[in-house]
Amino acid sequence: MSGGGGSGGTGDEFGRAVARAAVAQALEAAGFDCAHRSAVDAVVDVLLRYITHLGRSAAFHANLAGRALANELDIIQALEEVGADTDGFAGASATGHCLVGSGVVRDLMAFVDKDEVPFVRPLPRFPVPRVQPQPSVSFAVAGKETGMRHVPEWLPVFPDPHTYVRTDAWVEPPPTKDRVDKVEQVRQRRKAEKSLLSLQQRLAQAGAEGFHPAAALTQDSAEKGKEIQAAGTKRNPFLEPALPPGEKDVSEVDAPPEKKKLSVLEAFAPAIQATAVREIDAETGLDRNQRSIVPKERAPVHLKIGFGRKPVAPVLNSGALDLRDDPSFLKEEAKDDKKRRAGMILRASMENPQELPQL
């Protein structure tokens, strides 16, 4: 058999199913009771190849004669070539005869005269075209100008420009990192200033007027941040004015200074940890504090609020407990420059609260 039905096995399921039904009907008409499925499939395959071969041969003969459409004589010729029957047909040996009187036709006529077995079910025309192809309009029909001299009018129109011209969609640029950092810096600076201001006010009021720090705190609570508030909402006993000596009997026990330092540390934590602190000229403050940083003696009981020359701001290192004895208080800023500056500001404010313009 020729290769006319080359692709018959793939993707042609509906035709094969229909052919299977037809073959089964023909087999039953021939006298078979049943059949193997593989045998039926083989017959279907042979049948489809036969039909395809007939069509190809007929089309070939028509083209050979210069026609596009085939007629019945082409089919008869194809049938003669294929060999309709193993026994041959009458007149097969004759070469120069007319196809009209071909033996093939006579065989077919004899076959048709036998009993007729029509196909059981009506079939739709297949393959069913799913999408009606849209005929493209030419330039002349659309009434458009091609715009190019080498493009004639009978060609279909070009597609719309929006289908091939690509414009970038506007995308909001994400906030750059620099901007984010700067915003963050400004925010922390403001926080530091707020905490500074609140602390200075508290200390000034507590030292000058003997005012209750709680009331002062409640005044400032609206302005302060949460960090200061958390530290100062409770009434800090260490910020109270010092008792005059002899008024109250106190035991000779060292009051733990860590508490004061921690509370102050809490108050100053945001200011100290802020990455951006306003530049304040702390050079003079440093010089002033250096002389008074290390006292000669240590008062075990009475704790004086650091309005004197003593720095109150605690060291951030957890190892250093006593500020006054620790000469490395000023040296710790080597670790962090900004923390050092924050410490400077605080000390300067401790020493000269009146000089600050905020008050």
Partner: protein, 158 residues
Amino acid sequence: MMSGNSGGGGGGGPGGGMGPGMGGPVGGGGDGRHDDEAALTEFLSSLMDYTPTIPDELVEHYLGRSGFHCPDLRLTRLVAVATQKFLSDIASDSLQHCKARVAAPIKDNKSKQPKDRRLVLTMDDLSKALREHGVNLKHPEYFADSPSAGMAPSTREE
């Protein structure tokens, strides 16, 4: 259409397989040819009354795939009838093979009775029938999972 072709001098025009012996029987065979043409015409028109087993849509689909385009339904019917004849030939040949297989070894009178023996189209009979038509059909008898499947345990161990 047929009269137009006959006006062209018999079968000289259509068909590429015409031999050079055309000019011979022109006068004497004209009546015969006309009879043949009339018979063919009548046959084609009678095809419209006959419904072949193979449906027209199927034949048209496969003819279209092979390049044979014809709007005439009679030609489609002609191809359908020819195919049906081919199919019936194969079926009858394989039926003969099947009956010959049943009739040959008569061992048991009970099982080989023709009336209760069911005629089954098998690949074996089909391949024999198709071989005469020029189609070589080879069918494997069975498929096994592994080369040693179904063998005796002793040989499998080896």
